[in-house]
Point group: C2
Chain length 336, copies 2
Amino acid sequence: MTRIPFDEMKATIRSAFVKAGMPEHKADICAQIHTESTRDGVASHGLNRVERFVEYLHTGLVDVHASPTLELNLGALEVYNGNMAPGILNAMFAINRATEIAEKNGIGLVSLKNTTHWMRGGTYGWLAAEKGYIGICWTNTESVMPAWGAKSEGIGNNPFVMAVPRKEGHIVLDMAMSQYSYGKLWGTRDKGQKLPYPGGFGHDGKLTDDPGPIAETRRILPMGYWKGSGFAVLLDIISALLAGGNTTAEITKLDKGSCGGCNQIFIAINPLNINTQEFIDHALNETIAQIKSSVPAKENGEVLFPGENSERTRNENMKLGIPVDDKVWAKVKELA
Amino acid sequence: MTRIPFDEMKATIRSAFVKAGMPEHKADICAQIHTESTRDGVASHGLNRVERFVEYLHTGLVDVHASPTLELNLGALEVYNGNMAPGILNAMFAINRATEIAEKNGIGLVSLKNTTHWMRGGTYGWLAAEKGYIGICWTNTESVMPAWGAKSEGIGNNPFVMAVPRKEGHIVLDMAMSQYSYGKLWGTRDKGQKLPYPGGFGHDGKLTDDPGPIAETRRILPMGYWKGSGFAVLLDIISALLAGGNTTAEITKLDKGSCGGCNQIFIAINPLNINTQEFIDHALNETIAQIKSSVPAKENGEVLFPGENSERTRNENMKLGIPVDDKVWAKVKELA
């Protein structure tokens, strides 16, 4: 494992995007986000997605010259057509616009239809929090997971994000509706290891923590069994109705690459329009204190709040360099 | 098991509430909701909560004469003080108000602080859907579950609701952040049965499907392990910041009964302000069709959409009468 400094990684990714036809200012922003995700420990949606994104630019699955256009303004809710522009740029526009709407209306909701993969969903939570806003965002996806009670794929894994700004470190949840990603299954399998908890069904139809058979049956487990399955369905159809866009069923038929033609929802609220900073600090820090004062399940264990681990990984990687898969890094350098 | 007709159950509960000092028009609405929840298969938050609610009326933990007062209006977001009034009445007011705000602003958010137990969260999703609105609601609670990595309680189970109106049957998700409720643990234990999937940690610190030890250790499992734990934390603090109210940590210290002094959030959006009815019908029915056409995991199995089972139970119980626990029913009749 090699560690690459942030600036070097960003410059390399940027160059790959420019070479694939992306205007420099857009390539700069996208490279920044891919590098930040990798720095925070989410290489699967950062460095490891560069090759596929470049391919999408070449094949036209992502339209590098497009940008979002307003379809409908209802006051505190605006609907945009993403026009298959780069998912990162569309989503950054949308969360920023949601914060602007929130300043005038208390809450702002921006929905995007016909957009493309936003990479790491947490990005837009962190962005909202950095600006001082509570952010709630989600996306639908193509069909990748069996609904509860089924053994064939029928629902998306529809990542869902909630973020709260906090001076000492934002509190950010970023979760897909599957218990594990395929990346986690493949990586664990390739190391010859078991998952920490069962992650899907094997060939015998039973729950297993062995990632190999799950990757073969494709019967990945919704988080919380029937709960994650139901949540995925609601996130999907609400995104389609708020954006006037494609459901998971339709995205699957469209077959325009990973998340091509999906919807994304961005909600922003400024807690300082409701509370004093003192109230906010007290509420957040009391909650963190209660979590931290829990008795750890393991001796010398530690209880983390959502987002804490990302922040630690970030700090470590900014000091030591960002760890990369050497093959992936070689490929990206080739594209640059 | 006895089956009681809807009208008889409602009249009995209504009488119990009036006897406990509730004005008749309020008792009528609350009895209706408790009966509907029981009819839909959620007796735990319907008939089985009548005794405790009557006790709260007597001890003053719920203020039967209070009603919500406006604290702040930001346009599309309104903050109310629930003034410890009956949770059902506060929540019904709030979801209705959210739909009114949504008509003018595209989206409406009403937050309630200092409110009391709303009983079955799904009630407010169904109400929104009946009016033609998408509803998103959640509540925080006192501490009832260990955070992920902890073995002592530190977070709420914070039920979360999403509802979408559909002519042929609304699509409604109603889930707490714990994999199972204590009611489910106790009931399964008392029948000498095992849970369908592991539901918490036993005395040896290992995951178990045996409900008895879990009820003793109180180490119930967040749905999806770390995911449900993180989601619970975010639902809690966002509810507190949107309502200017108590966090789970504070509700626990207050000790004003189950959910006494909690916050609830109600979001409403009218999908017909964004789409035609034809678009909505197509999106919903295509999604349901995709789920229904999945290969069932079990032979002759069936894949249900969220809310479908409630609707079936409802139809059956309206025909045959609502099944009750005989001891619980005798107690409620005593109170009436």
